[in-house]
Point group: C2
Chain length 428, copies 2
């Protein structure tokens, strides 16, 4: 179904989260969760909403980058049944490509547009995006992917075989998802700016709420980390997993040494131990800290980097992000790579709206790609969901499957008005 | 010497190079060479000029990104003897960091600012930047570098030893540089949009002008590439090197096959055979196409990527770019890594102003870091130099050492006015 886009509106939306140190970690002590938020309007009046996530300053640069793609969007047709073409049209702009290629601000902006197009497609089909994707034929899924640079690791035909194999049991998995939801873990207790008392209280609440995994931030102060890890372990007991997250703080040997000092409290994974670009560094850390797992991905900028992280055995857990790479289409490529290499995907979320959007990808993965929730959980943070028209519903440590059409990406009009930077009422 | 910055002015400067297909390649068929150009003004009235290079659309996004760093620049002091601190101040902005980290638009913008600060430092010292850097003590050079994420490959103390070792003979190398210049190779003949006749004519002119290496673009059409490579080889003879450049066009196996088909005409290196992010892919290609060398770097986004390319033996030639990574400071780190691993650096240039700026880094490298020009040459393209106050001088296939203070980065005021986008006269 082709549809003509007649409007592209972009909003600089920011939330003053730094005032409570929500989201504080060793590298980002004072984030103001923000979104460069785009609304596509079609000739028939339908709209598609998407965004990329930032942590404050520079959100206006992402707004400018989204607007730079306008010639490929405004006044142009989008085929809602061939959004791979739409994605490749943006990726291959012969001049904008120089700004990446396929990384950083330009790629984040592209993600906002691609995800908005999928929101529009979901609304047009009357389906949540996870279901829209799950109902695609294997051929349609393969056609979403830009296969360039992937074929030494995974070819379209191998991916097609994988998807056809997973067709068995799809209906049962969809029913299971609708019944029980998708596992979640929570980062709510663990922000670095929180007091020990708040950490312990929130960790206990998390267990009481049914979570079987929490995450705490580390990497600023070793003595404090040892103490916080001990307190968290005492609060949750031995049966609940505690992931730790260094937010890129360390060099390779420093990561190995630091994780070694925390090992007695049984961390489940170490997340972002070093530069997100350091594929070989992650591999070296993984070899040294096992059985502690190594996780990364929220800053991994495209499928080529994920291909290498997987091929070289650098990670135990792949942390998909809904709007760092080029949106749904590139994330489908990454889900296929992860399934091919047998590495579980535990999506990055939190921020503003990341939980809402990424749940669709994880649920599609369960129904149609990996076919499993073993060792998998979507990150959850209980912030800012009230700003969304179709907020996530997390019950007993599980995300319930969204039922509204689209990608759950729409903020309330009052939110867009009040949080618009710098003129919204919140910023006065 | 501390200096207060009172002004930060940014210009969107574009040249309509696509009208003649100058700069056309397999991935970028129609570039309009552009610069997001920044002028820092100090309290004493001195100015520093820098820019990042783009190929047209999206240059305004880089302008916005430069302006996003203003709180760290305008009204703030810069210590011209400690520009590593200035660089790290920009890199570590706790919110802007999210836009990369250290990649894409945000990092290119940072490069423009860091290079402008070095231009200012050169002017203040009355020295061209290559000489300013060459006169630094080994300790000062080491202090320029952000060592984070590097220490598994190279530590500050090993770098210090390397620099102290290279102190021997510095004066003689400086004299040699002033006398004979630094080797160049030319890409002028080889743009993909040029006719065969133009290719042959320009290739012959290049040899007559004293160049011992030319470069031609490949990757769009194998039959045409075989023909053009044969014509170029016939035009230059067997003693002149012909590098080929695919501008990221291929998958890994495709690169191996395509280079194999051109091998009979003795290509010297294959440049950007695949995604610039594919470290392991470059390593696989290198193993397969030897003795043809593998070169990359103009799109390699930071020192962490270069560290891995070098550590894994993925490249024979490192192509430094003056304003893709974070400016002089990060390029010093990359020069140290290259010297440590014994890989020659052949800087990427062309575009607008890239020759002017990058020559300073190569000359510093010869005098103080690698201490050699063996296997090294700076790319040269004879476009747009007339727009610079201190343009490169290339004679008999060699860049002559700049003598004017600063980084040769200043465009004429008339150029800035006429090429300002979209209101300059050139764009009317």
């Amino acid at each position: 179904m082709k549809i003509t886009i007649t409007g592209l509106d972009v909003f600089d939306v920011r939330f003053p989260t730094s005032r409570q140190l929500d989201g504080s970690d060793a590298t980002h002590p004072d984030p103001d969760y923000s979104a460069a938020y785009v609304v596509l309007t079609a000739a028939n009046g339908a709209t598609g909403h998407g965004f990329c996530f930032t942590i404050g300053r520079g959100n206006e640069v992402c707004v400018a980058a989204i607007e730079a793609y306008a010639p490929h969007v405004t006044g142009r047709d989008i085929d809602l049944d061939d959004l791979g073409e739409f994605s490749r049209r943006l990726v291959n702009d012969s001049q904008l490509r120089w700004l990446g290629p396929e990384k950083g601000v330009a790629h984040m902006a592209l993600a906002a547009l691609v995800n908005a197009a999928f929101d529009l497609a979901g609304v047009a089909a009357g389906k949540p995006v996870w279901k829209l994707l799950a109902d695609y034929t294997p051929e349609q899924v393969v056609d979403l992917v830009d296969w360039r640079y992937l074929t030494d690791a995974l070819t379209p035909s191998t991916a097609l075989d994988l998807l056809k194999d997973r067709s068995t049991g799809k209906d049962a998995r969809e029913a299971e998802l609708r019944r029980g939801g998708y596992p979640a873990y929570t980062t709510t207790p663990g922000w670095l700016g929180y007091t020990d008392e708040k950490l312990v209280r929130l960790a206990r609440e998390a267990v009481a709420d049914g979570f079987t995994q929490i995450k705490i931030k580390v990497g600023s102060d070793l003595t404090a980390d040892v103490r916080r890890m001990r307190l968290a372990r005492a609060a949750v007991g031995t049966d609940v997993r505690i992931a730790i997250d260094a937010n890129q703080r360390w060099d390779v040997q420093q990561a190995i040494d630091w994780v070694g000092r925390l090992a007695e409290h049984d961390p489940y994974w170490i997340e972002e131990p070093t530069s997100p670009d350091d594929i070989l560094g992650h591999a070296a850390i993984r070899r040294a800290v096992a059985p502690v797992k190594v996780a990364t991905g929220e800053h991994t900028h495209n499928r080529v980097m994920f291909k290498q992280l997987l091929a070289v055995g650098a990670i135990d857990v792949l942390q998909l992000d809904a709007c760092r790479v080029g949106g749904v289409t590139e994330n489908v490529a990454i889900l296929l790579l992860a399934a091919h290499f047998g590495v579980p995907v535990c999506p990055h979320a939190g921020g503003v709206g990341l939980c809402e959007v990424v749940q669709h990808l994880a649920m599609f993965d369960f129904v149609a790609v990996s076919g499993s929730v073993d060792g998998r959980a979507i990150e959850y943070v209980d912030h800012l969901h009230e700003h969304f028209i179709d907020p996530v519903r997390v019950v007993s440590g599980h995300y319930l499957a969204p039922s509204q059409p689209g990608m759950s990406s729409r903020m309330w009009p009052d939110t867009l008005a009040a949080h618009r930077y710098p003129d919204g009422s919140v910023w006065q």
